[in-house]
């Protein structure tokens, strides 16, 4: 098989070569043109500094954590749990992990029963943020203890003023979801 393929390839190449040679001979040689944008000079003193624009889009997979983000779109908070009954860590994980860090077993998904009530462990008010911030500043960023979790996930408080120990309830951005972790947040909870 391999031999045959090579032979065919050679034949095709030989034919093409002859054809392209003819084409090149008939065309006028082209001059290379600059097709970019002219670079702006920002300053010349004490040295020359130019502007260097950058714009790009990455694609990013949520991999085995995709169910977490699907859950947010449906208004559910989903966590992972190690199903290995020999493993000492049987608590839930948010941020979720697909594999248990202690025994490497593939985790299973659990949906937290609603309402999800947590307690503020600590917080900050983000006043000055870097470029690309998607929440209107200033806003309250909160780290929330949720019963049954091994972790203390970071999120934000939609309204109200936080304090350590404050009870909060999880809510979801199911209309026009951002498809990111910003699709769940906390609101003050009385009761």
């Amino acid at each position: 098989m391999a031999k045959k393929k090579v032979q065919i390839k050679k034949k095709i190449q030989a034919k093409k070569k002859v054809q392209t040679k003819k084409k090149v001979q008939t065309k006028k040689p082209k001059e290379t043109k600059f097709i970019g944008q002219v670079t702006k000079i920002r300053q010349t003193e004490p040295r020359t500094v130019i502007e260097w624009p950058r714009a790009m889009t990455h694609v990013h997979t949520y991999g085995l954590l995709s169910p977490f983000f699907e859950g947010l779109r449906k208004g559910e908070l989903r966590a992972t749990q190690c199903p290995n009954n020999k493993c000492p860590e049987n608590r839930l994980w948010i941020p979720p992990r697909a594999h248990c860090p202690d025994c490497h077993t593939e985790m299973i998904w659990k949906t937290l029963p609603k309402p999800v009530i947590g307690k503020i462990y600590t917080f900050t008010q983000v006043v000055y943020a870097g470029i690309g911030i998607e929440l209107s500043t200033p806003y309250w960023q909160v780290d929330v203890e949720i019963p049954g979790l091994a972790t203390i996930p970071k999120s934000y408080l939609l309204r109200g003023d936080p304090y350590i120990g404050m009870k909060v309830k999880a809510e979801f951005r199911t209309k026009k979801p951002t498809n990111t972790v910003l699709d769940y947040y906390w609101v003050p909870y009385e009761g």
Partner: protein, 506 residues
Amino acid sequence: MCFKLQKKGGDHGSRLTSHPCLPTPVPTEGGQAGITQEGGKRMITFKEGNLRVPKWNRRVFIVAGGTTAYKKYFPEYKLEELAMMAFKQMLEDNDLKMDPLDVKGLINFATYGEFADHFQDQLLCEAKIHDYLGLDPLHNLGIKTGGATGGSTILAAAMAVASGYANVALAAGWERMDEVDTRTGNYYIATAACKDFETRLGRIYSSYYAPMANRFAETFNVSEVTRAKIAVKNHLYACSSPYAHQAGKYTVEEVLASPISAYPLRFLECCAMSAGAACVLVCDEETAYKLTDHPCELFICGGTHTLRVADRRHMEVPLLPNETPETYKDLYSKEGARYPGFESFLAARFAAWLVYRMAGIKNPLEEMDLVELHDAFTISDLQTYGDIGLRPYGQEQDYIESGDAYYINPNTGKPGKCPSNLSGGLIGTMHAVGATGIFQAAECLWQLQQKYDKFHGDPKIWKKWGKEKPKDWESLQIPKNSKQALWVSHAGVGSHVTVGILRKSW
């Protein structure tokens, strides 16, 4: 990750026991394999070998250092030109007993620290700088561990020397954070938080430290005045440095009145975002004494912990040589209390735990004559005092309030017991990230060699960087009988930390 440390005795005897849910637990002497329940808190144990204390195959020394000044915007020089200027200072101005080019002729390996390719917008920057320094075709390795890059770069160079791969290795680092505006820089740095679960919630690194500051204040009853004092101190010490990017004489009131970045952290409590480069020369014992009569022996170890603070499960405090189980009997018994939680850095504690054993340190506060800590924010500086045992956890603020952390103790008017960040640190002088841990090591070296004035007080150095030496310039040289200095290089919210010790060896 939570684990139980079991002390067997002796400097090399501390170990972790086997993990219960790994397939074939290996029973180890001096400790039971398996899960343990203590005070209702889970402790996971690890296998023997995880806690082995690193040991060099031969002794390692640092003999020379070099640095550029650090600036917010540095259009005067290209990055490789800055690296060359630091390299030249290292070879030419450290009183080495050989011609600079002959010293260069001893180098056969280099490690290079750079935090983020985003900033340089140049992959394989190492190759460009290596060529520019005229070191081809010697091999070099690029090292990247976030804010701890500088420390890790020195660790990698030390490994090369200790193993015999090199007799003389160059450890250099840099960052060019001025190609983008500050907010874009903040964005780039925030990509060093978990991109799926944390970056979007802050887009600025102060917002990952600020929650720690609030929790720390609540747990240990710390006033923001203590944090402000750290900012005042480090900005002030930067006034003596010709390399400083954020020198300033501020009052506590001015710090607290400055604009907030992320509550409660003010701008004056946050580190600089700089451009600049630094390097040190790492070598074996024989070469060290050939090059100088004043070499310093090097010990350095590292530790790591989760990128997300969220994932830090409770564990027992690994005890430093100056601590006993009694020290923390009640500290973590409160409901909701976790170690290291949001208050401390396990990676820093772990690195200190190792390096104190490696260097035979029994009491860091008594034995260190200077510490250069990674004060990216006032709060991280404060947290680190506990991690490296300058004070027990819960009493970190006393290191500042007692005056121990100052060049001159404001309470007594006498020299501080163990002054901190006389270089001006990251808040006052620089944070050109890949250079930072190397700059700190150079400062420790010069202090131990009694060369603070030579490298900070010479009007020519001030002029070289476009500055004038202040008329009220003050020396921050530590006393002649000083023996040891320590520096901490720290990444993320404590994801990677190295703790290095330089010991005067003459």
